[in-house]
Amino acid sequence: MDKAMVLDLSEALGRADGDRDLFLTLARLFLQESPKEAAAARAALGRQDRAGLVAAAHKLKGSVMEMCVPGLFESARRLEELGRRGEFAEASSVCADVETRLAEVHATLRDLIAGGFPS
């Protein structure tokens, strides 16, 4: 999988003011925190809890923005919006998309942390 297709590394580094160490710190934090929010969104869906779904999707969206992952950001934004509208059936499939994309991002970030930045 091409890392550039999953996240915009150049933009992500730009958000970190070009500070690679900061970016790696943020990436590790993202790996640690984002699964919690994805799990919280899934659980809220199970409970048909609109507020819980909105809160979890919103928080995930915020961290995704820092990682500059356009596809995942759009899915998280959509999930938040569906949660706000209480459209749980569609939200369930979007949540699955979020989980898939999140796994891809995690894999990409782990590679980056382990292998360093591409030259």
């Binding site: 730009g14 934090l29 925190e33 809160a55 919103h58 928080k59 969206k61 915020g62 923005m65």
Partner: protein, 422 residues
């Protein structure tokens, strides 16, 4: 890493950071750790001291303790969200002037309006560029500093005002105390000796007056009288008057002069109370009434004098032109003599009682004053004196006199000849 309820101080080593005058302490309130860490790092790189909190409730505690220059907070947070935090800040006397940037991905006008209505000062989009974040933070800090300066100035003004009010209250109390003392020097109303009634009214233009008067029993046959007027008003004039009053005490005159002869009293007072370096001086009228014969000898140093009111004839002034005290050390003040009749009234007065202007600027004057005295012959002495003050106030259409106004009346209460001293 869990920073939800923590704060930290981060220092910048970035040479592109703004100068010290443009950096400040910023409280960053965000529950999402990645966003918070990213934003904190950026602000730190800009040279700011960054405090962090993971929700509004913790942020309130930090804000109260640290008084940050700027608060940047997320809209959606657990426990206490951004708008609720803004409302709490605006209700808090210590924090209410804090500058708040509400950080949100909400950019719809209705949500921005809600945020502003609930207490935010500005918005910061989470997707804003580094340049925009820098500009908004600097603008927020600038505003915050201006507000702080205003608050400091306002606090200093308030402190100064309180200090002034306290000092003024102390001064007022001192003046009131001095006024009470000066009033205690004035003769008691009633009957200084058998066969003579004494009534007076005194209205200083300020708390303390410079016009003073006295009635004293010199010996079994003689009554001493005087009225003095110090130029100027207020504390200085009152102190100078009290000094002359002390000089005019009977014991002092008898010791110095061997008598209370008005001519001698004025000569000595003139010698001892020269014109001051500031050009201040006294006018003085002194009289001595021989009680068995009702013979009044009197002399004046520039004082408008006394008015004698008799039942059978028009009132007349007991004075003649002379200079005030202190103008010429060798000056002599000639005395006159008049024999009073039973029921006569003698009024000693300061010019402040009749030199009152109407709203158009016309003075009430001696003649109108004299008319009130003459019109009051059939009324009591106190009623006549009250009528004079009332007429003067009506003329000037004001209660407060522009100069000290003193009017003392003595009445020979109709006792048979030769019985005044009982």
């Amino acid at each position: 890493m869990n920073l939800d309820s923590t704060q930290r101080l981060v220092r910048s080593s970035d040479s592109s950071a703004p100068s010290c005058s443009r950096v400040g302490t910023i409280l960053l309130v965000e529950d999402e750790p990645v966003t918070r860490t990213s934003m904190a790092a950026r602000l730190t790189r800009l040279g700011h001291r960054v405090l962090e909190a993971g929700n509004g409730r913790v942020a309130l505690e930090v804000a109260r303790r640290e008084r940050p220059d700027l608060i940047i907070l997320d809209w959606m947070m657990p426990e206490m969200d951004g708008p609720t935090f803004c409302e709490a800040v605006r209700r808090d006397p210590l924090l209410k002037s804090s500058h708040i940037l509400l950080m949100t991905s909400h950019d719809q006008p209705a949500q921005i309006a809600e945020g502003l209505a609930r207490g935010a000062d500005d918005f910061l989009s989470k997707s804003a560029s580094k340049q925009e974040i820098t500009a908004r933070v600097l603008a927020g800090l600038r505003t915050s500093r201006l507000v702080r300066e205003l608050e400091t100035t306002s606090d200093k003004l308030e402190s100064s005002l309180l200090l002034l009010q306290r000092k003024q209250a102390e001064t007022e109390a001192d003046l009131q105390s001095a006024a009470t003392f000066v009033q205690s020097l004035l003769p008691p109303q009633g009957s200084p000796v058998h066969g003579i009634a004494l009534v007076w009214e005194y209205q200083p233009s300020l708390t303390l007056g410079g016009d003073l008067f006295g009635v004293m029993e010199i010996d079994a046959d003689h009554l001493g009288l005087y009225i003095l007027d110090a130029s100027g008003h207020g504390v200085a004039a009152a102190l100078r008057s009290a000094s002359l009053m002390t000089f005019l005490r009977v014991e002092n005159m008898l010791q110095l002069l061997g008598s209370y002869d008005p001519e001698k009293v004025l000569f000595e007072a003139n010698r001892r109370f020269p014109l001051t370096a500031d050009g201040e001086y006294f006018t003085l009228w002194v009289g001595q009434l021989h009680l068995p014969t009702r013979s009044l000898s009197y002399a004046s140093a520039g004082h408008p004098g006394a008015l004698l009111s008799s039942a059978q004839s028009p009132s007349r002034w007991l004075t003649h032109p002379s200079s005030p005290l202190g103008f010429d050390p060798a000056a002599r003040f000639g005395s006159d003599r008049v024999v009073l009749k039973p029921a006569d009234r003698l009024f000693l007065l300061s010019d402040g009682i009749y030199e009152v202007p109407s709203p158009s600027g016309e003075l009430w004057g001696r003649e109108r004053f004299q008319e009130v005295i003459d019109a009051g012959k059939q009324t009591s002495l106190s009623a006549t004196i009250a009528s004079c003050f009332s007429a003067a106030r009506s003329w000037q259409q004001a209660q407060h006199f522009p100069d000290d106004a003193a009017l003392m009346g003595l009445e020979l209460t109709g006792c048979p000849e030769g019985t005044f001293n009982g």
